[in-house]
Structure formats: structure tokens, C-alpha cells
């Protein structure tokens, strides 16, 4: 018990220790220095190679320009983006300062008070230790490893070293580099060969480490013939005084293994969510991405699947919902790198009250990936004339033995359909909600049960337009 407690407490204790030890008052973003990174690494008692990754990432971060495509990031205030170098963090972060709209959504989602405070990163921690403990014992019997990244780095250094930022190298883009330099928290899951994990795992660590949710690193390895369902975070809006989230997810699906990775992102609406997710799928392996994007001011999120082994498969199912002042630039990337690989992308986006949703995707089929199959279906629905939507599905096929299907639709909510429903006594508001729910239905049914209710509630909240 004590040990488990430590696993969970470790990351944020370190974070707080760090805060007390060093006065960062004068350290601005530009001051993100070699000394600071070395200090973080030392405090976390990291091995040299990890410190090297951090320092190398810092160099890359400094040398890379901001992305010159996609949503406008010019308002991103880079001076305030790291939680634990802001000495006033604790003071600002009181329950009273959590915006009303966030509190209302918590309540509407039926989340208990203690958990609300935890999700908001303030006050008492949500006591998930017992749940976690039970799960851990259960899994341990099967040889499954499930712990926070910091502990994993101490206990399973070799595995981490072999995989950490190998799929998403810091060279990838500016925010991957930033992540490499300052990452903190996140989950590590290892499923040994042939083990089927029946219960979906949920990432608890994020709930438990305020501040660590900003640059968390998730590493999951599903060995040969094994299977896992992983649920990232939860649908409650994650309030943060900070406005940048640059997490990183690296997934390894070995031969014949299956992984279903589900997320509902519902960051508070001041957040820049620049998250990088990638999976490597080997022979006959299967990755299923389930992705819901609701919150944030700007999201750039394009989970990438590398189908490396023959017969590997990827399925991406996504819903994005942008309301006022939101730009959600989301999609999926697939790289077919072996013969007989299959991918399916199915995306639905909704924009209302001037929100912007863009589907941005890439399907690339390499010359060697003969007899592959790919299908992309992306549809978007605008609920009013101020809202905007577009789809940019890039297709790059380098051999002629590929079965490819593509469907893209951008449309406005049909006034005729609203009239039809209203002619049966249904109010205009409810008619709109029904049409939107109908629009996402084929996708929503793919969501795990844990999310189905939450997804519905979220849609309801978004559609009622009472909040945000």
C-alpha cells in the first residue's frame, strides 16, 4: 500500500519540491535554460540518457520555428506555459478561481465534488488509490505493468530507454521537442505476450498529478498476441491556469496484438492542445483509435499509425465539436509501410456559434505496401452560418495495387430536416440536437461504454448552448 501510494504521489511531490527549491520568479519562457532542465532531471533522479534527451530536446526546441500551417498560434503566450516554474501557481490555483462555466459542466456531468476539485487541479486529490490498487493487483498476476512514467523510469529503465521518444523523436516538431525537454507524469503500460487485459485501463495518473497533466508522456507496449483497451483521461473539462498542453503518446502494437486507445479531450477553452500521438503496428496487429475532441481553444491533433508489418490494421474513429472561439484542427495520419495493410478513417466534425473544425488527414501508401486497403470518410456539419468547416484529406499512394475509398462531405444543418422534425411537435432546439446526434451516431456507437453516456452529456451541454 505504501509503495503504491508513493507511485502516485511521487510525480507531484517532485513537482512541488522543485517549486520550493528554486525561485523561478524571474525565469521566463525564454529563460528555459540548460540549468533549469538539468535541475529538473536531477530532482527526478533521472539516468543520464534521459537528461541527454531533455537537453537535446531543448536545443531542438530553440532551433525550430513555430508551425507555419494550420491554426493561428500567434496568441499562444509562451511565457506562461510551464506549470511548475511559475512560483505563483499554488496561489492562483484555488477552487474560487476555477471559472463558473467549468464548474457548471462538472456538475452537469455528475462528477462528485472531490473529483471536480482534483480535475481542476486544486484542493483535495481524488482518492483513486483504492481503485488503482485493486486493478494493479489483478493485473500484476498476469504480469501486466501499469504505473506512472516517473516510477517506470526507475523500475524499468531498459524498456523505457528502448522506446522513449523513439516513435515521436524531439526532431519531429517544435512541441514534440518542448515535450522532450520538460515532460512530466503520464502512464506506462506493458502487456506481456499473449495476455488479454479484459477491463479497460484508465489513466489515473493524470488525475492525481496537477501540473503533470500538461506535458505527460504515455508509453504503451502490447506484446505479441496480447490485447489491451486503454482509456485516456476522462470527459470532464480539465481546467488549468496554464494554456498549453503538449503531451506525447507512444504506442507499440506487436505481432498479432490489439490495442484500442480511446480519448475524449475536453480541455478548458483557454487551452492550446498540441498533442502528438503515434503507434507502430507490427504484423497482423490492430490499433483502434477512438477520439473525441470537444474542449480547448486550439487543438492540433493527428494520431499517426505506422503500419509496419504485413497485414497490420488501423482504425480511426473521431468526433470533433467546435463552438465559439474554438479552432479544432484534427484528423489522422496513416502510413502503409507493408503489404496487405488496412486502414479505415471515419471522422465527424461539428461547428457551431462561429467555431471552426478542420479535418486534416494523411494516408500514405509506400511502394512496398501492395495489396493494401484504405478508406477515408470525413463529414462535417455546420450548425449556423458563422461557423466554418473544411476537410483536407491528403492522399499519397505510391503503388497501383491499392484499394482506396474516399468520401468527404461538408454541409450545413438542413432547414428542411429541422422543419420535418418540428412538424412532429419537436422543438427547434431539440430538432437540431436530434440531427446532430444522428450525424455522430454511427461514430458514437464505436465509443467505449464508459464514454457513451459522457459523450451524450457533452453533446447535450454543447448543444443547449447554456455554457461556453
Amino acid at each position: 500500500m505504501a509503495k503504491v501510494k508513493q507511485d502516485i504521489q511521487e510525480p507531484d511531490r517532485l513537482v512541488f519540491d522543485l517549486k520550493q527549491d528554486i525561485d523561478y520568479r524571474n525565469k521566463t519562457w525564454k529563460g528555459l535554460s540548460v540549468e533549469l532542465i538539468e535541475e529538473i532531471s536531477r530532482k527526478k533522479q533521472e539516468p543520464d540518457w534521459m537528461r541527454e534527451i531533455r537537453l537535446r530536446s531543448l536545443e531542438i526546441y530553440k532551433s525550430k520555428p513555430m508551425p507555419q500551417w494550420g491554426p493561428d498560434l500567434s496568441d499562444l503566450d509562451v511565457n506562461e506555459i510551464i506549470t511548475y516554474i511559475d512560483p505563483d501557481f499554488k496561489k492562483q490555483n484555488s477552487w474560487d478561481e476555477v471559472p463558473e462555466e467549468i464548474k457548471e459542466i462538472f456538475t452537469a456531468l455528475g462528477i462528485p465534488k472531490a473529483e471536480q476539485e482534483s480535475l481542476a487541479g486544486v484542493g483535495a486529490q481524488f482518492d483513486s488509490e483504492i481503485v488503482y490498487q485493486n486493478m494493479r493487483n489483478e493485473l500484476a498476476k498476469q504480469g501486466v505493468i501499469y504505473m506512472d512514467m516517473e516510477t517506470a523510469l526507475q523500475e524499468y529503465e531498459d524498456i523505457i530507454r528502448e522506446h522513449f521518444m523513439k516513435l515521436v523523436p524531439p526532431e519531429d516538431h517544435k512541441f514534440a521537442a518542448l515535450h522532450g525537454a520538460v515532460w512530466s507524469g503520464g502512464s506506462f503500460v506493458y502487456v506481456p505476450e499473449g495476455v488479454q487485459v479484459d477491463i479497460p485501463l484508465q489513466s489515473y495518473f493524470r488525475l492525481n498529478a496537477p501540473g503533470a497533466g500538461q506535458f505527460e508522456h504515455t508509453l504503451i507496449i502490447v506484446e505479441k498476441g496480447a490485447s489491451l483497451q486503454f482509456i485516456e483521461g476522462c470527459s470532464a473539462p480539465k481546467y488549468s491556469v496554464n494554456n498549453l498542453h503538449a503531451g506525447c503518446v507512444e504506442l507499440y502494437v506487436r505481432e498479432g496484438a490489439r490495442l484500442r486507445y480511446s480519448t475524449i479531450e475536453n480541455w478548458s477553452k483557454n487551452m492550446y492542445n498540441l498533442n502528438t500521438k503515434r503507434v507502430l503496428v507490427e504484423k497482423d496487429g490492430l490499433i483502434e483509435w477512438i477520439s473525441g475532441s470537444f474542449g480547448s481553444r486550439v487543438s492540433m491533433l493527428y494520431p499517426m499509425s505506422i503500419l509496419k508489418g504485413e497485414g497490420a490494421r488501423a482504425e480511426f474513429t473521431g468526433i470533433s465539436f467546435a463552438s465559439k472561439n474554438q479552432t479544432l484542427d484534427t484528423g489522422a495520419k496513416i502510413l502503409h509501410a507493408a503489404p496487405g495493410t488496412t486502414s479505415t478513417i471515419n471522422s465527424r466534425s461539428i461547428a457551431k456559434d462561429g467555431g471552426k473544425v478542420f479535418y486534416r488527414g494523411l494516408v500514405k501508401v509506400l511502394p512496398e505496401a501492395v495489396n493494401s486497403k484504405a478508406s477515408v470518410s470525413c463529414e462535417s456539419l455546420m450548425l449556423d452560418s458563422q461557423s466554418r468547416s473544411d476537410t483536407v484529406p491528403v492522399i499519397d499512394i505510391r503503388n497501383d495495387q491499392v484499394d482506396f475509398g474516399h468520401e468527404a462531405k461538408v454541409g450545413r444543418i438542413s432547414e428542411e430536416a429541422i422543419y420535418y422534425l418540428m412538424s412532429r411537435g419537436i422543438s427547434e432546439e431539440e430538432a437540431r440536437a436530434l440531427i446532430v446526434r444522428g450525424f455522430v451516431e454511427p461514430i458514437a456507437k464505436e465509443f467505449p461504454l464508459e464514454y457513451a453516456v459522457e459523450l451524450n452529456n457533452l453533446l447535450k451541454i454543447e448543444l443547449e448552448g447554456t455554457i461556453g
Binding site: M422, G425, F439
Partner: protein, 250 residues
């Protein structure tokens, strides 16, 4: 003769600035079945939609009175809750919403009462059986991929479930096969009572063989140019609307 249900006085309506209805007068009492016939483009569907409250059309003159109150300004959903129903000539397809869920929502809206899942389902299956519809249609997305005839049947199913006081059927018989017409009209007969009325828009006499229509109106050029009993429909069948051409400028 029952008490008055619907009264339309000198109704004018435009779409995109073009006048379609040019002074319609019509009176429907409770318990009556009225038939409206007329050439293509005469304005029959327009009339039906204006009664239902379609915001596409603008009322530029006259009055629609339902149960003694003007409904000119009333929103579509409120008209439906008052008991007006339109079986559409071209029903919309709404993907992602099952017939059953949609109808349960609609029934709750129209009656103002929550519909228990099991009770509702029982009622729905009863009505579907009456209309010779397979159970699987309850789970299908509303009109999505339905054939022309299936959509029409589904409109009548909705009518049977929502129990309107005034049902306007806009060419519900077009696209139905012979058996389906019989089944649908039998359904209408079962629903028809002294408390409700029907306004049936049709091009064919077949539906009239099964129903005892009280009045037949001929709508041409945005006006009701002639009214009569069922014999008027027979007359039209024989000599067409051309015979009524002279009213054009009248």
C-alpha cells in the same frame, strides 16, 4: 355537421417573392374528409406546408384559423402540438435517428407526457402491424434509404402514432402499390372519427374508392376554383383540368 376545425380566409402566400397562393378559402369541420386535386404546380403542397407553418413560405394576406384561433404566427412545432399533421409529399431522410426513438420523442412532445419505453414500443408495434410494416423498420434510421412507398407508409405510421386532429396527406397515395393503398386507406378509416378531419391531396381516384370523402376541391393557379362532392373527382378523371381552364382569368 361537426364544429369548425380549420378555416382559411383569402390566404395568400409567396416563396422567394413569387406569389403561389392567391386567395384560398377553405372550411373544414370536425369529422369531415376533404380532397384537394389540381394540376402539377398548382400550389397544393404549398397550401399544405403553409397550414403546417413551413417558414420557407411567407403569408402575405388572409388568415388561417384552427380551433377558433389564428395560427398565422404560430411556430411549426406548436401547430403540431395543437394537432395538425402533414404527411409529406417528399419526406426528409434523417440519418442516425431510429424511427422508434424519433417517434417516441415526437409523441412525448405532442402529448406533453413522457413515453415509457415498453408501453410505447407495444403501441408502435401494434400500429406497424396494422400498416403491415415489418418490425425491423422501427430500428432503421428515419426514412434513410427507404423506398418511395416505404417513406409514405412511414408517414402514415407517424400519423397513427401521433393521433392528430387535422391530418393533411400530400399525395400519400403516389408511390404506393395497390395493396399498400388499401392498407393505408384502411388505416385512415380506422383513425377517422367525429373528432378529427382529413385534408387529402391526390391525383388519383383510387384512394377515394376506399374513403368516403365529403368534399372535393379543385386547386388551380393558387385558388380553389371549384368545390363539390365526390362526383367532381370523377369528372376530373374523365375530362382533366383543361375543362376548367376558363377560370384562369376569372
Amino acid at each position: 355537421m361537426g364544429e369548425n376545425l380549420l378555416e382559411i380566409k383569402n390566404l395568400r402566400a409567396t416563396v422567394e417573392g413569387k406569389e403561389i397562393l392567391k386567395g384560398i378559402n377553405l372550411k373544414v369541420n370536425k369529422g369531415e374528409i376533404h380532397v384537394i386535386m389540381g394540376p402539377n404546380g398548382a400550389g397544393k403542397s404549398t397550401l399544405a406546408n403553409v397550414i403546417m407553418g413551413d417558414p420557407t413560405y411567407e403569408i402575405t394576406g388572409g388568415e388561417i384559423t384552427f380551433q377558433g384561433e389564428s395560427i398565422n404566427e404560430l411556430e411549426v412545432d406548436k401547430r403540431a402540438r395543437k394537432g395538425i399533421f402533414l404527411s409529406f409529399q417528399y419526406p426528409e431522410e434523417i440519418p442516425g435517428i431510429s424511427v422508434e426513438n424519433f417517434l417516441r420523442t415526437a409523441k412525448a412532445a405532442v402529448t406533453g407526457e413522457e413515453q415509457g419505453i415498453f408501453q410505447f414500443r407495444k403501441l408502435l408495434l401494434e400500429k406497424m402491424a396494422m400498416l403491415d410494416m415489418k418490425e425491423e423498420y422501427a430500428g432503421r434510421y428515419l426514412n434513410h434509404g427507404f423506398s418511395g412507398g416505404e417513406k409514405k407508409k412511414n408517414e402514415i405510421l407517424q400519423m397513427a402514432m401521433l393521433e392528430p386532429v387535422l391530418a393533411i396527406l400530400d399525395e400519400t397515395d403516389s408511390g404506393l402499390d395497390i395493396d399498400a393503398i388499401r392498407i393505408v386507406t384502411e388505416g385512415i378509416r380506422k383513425i377517422a372519427s367525429e373528432e378529427n378531419s382529413f385534408l387529402i391531396i391526390t391525383h388519383y381516384n383510387r384512394i377515394l374508392d376506399y374513403l368516403d370523402a365529403d368534399y372535393v376541391h379543385i386547386l388551380m393557379y393558387g385558388r380553389i376554383v371549384k368545390s363539390g362532392d365526390i362526383s367532381l373527382a370523377k369528372e376530373i378523371e374523365e375530362s382533366g383540368f383543361i375543362a376548367l381552364e376558363e377560370v384562369r382569368n376569372g
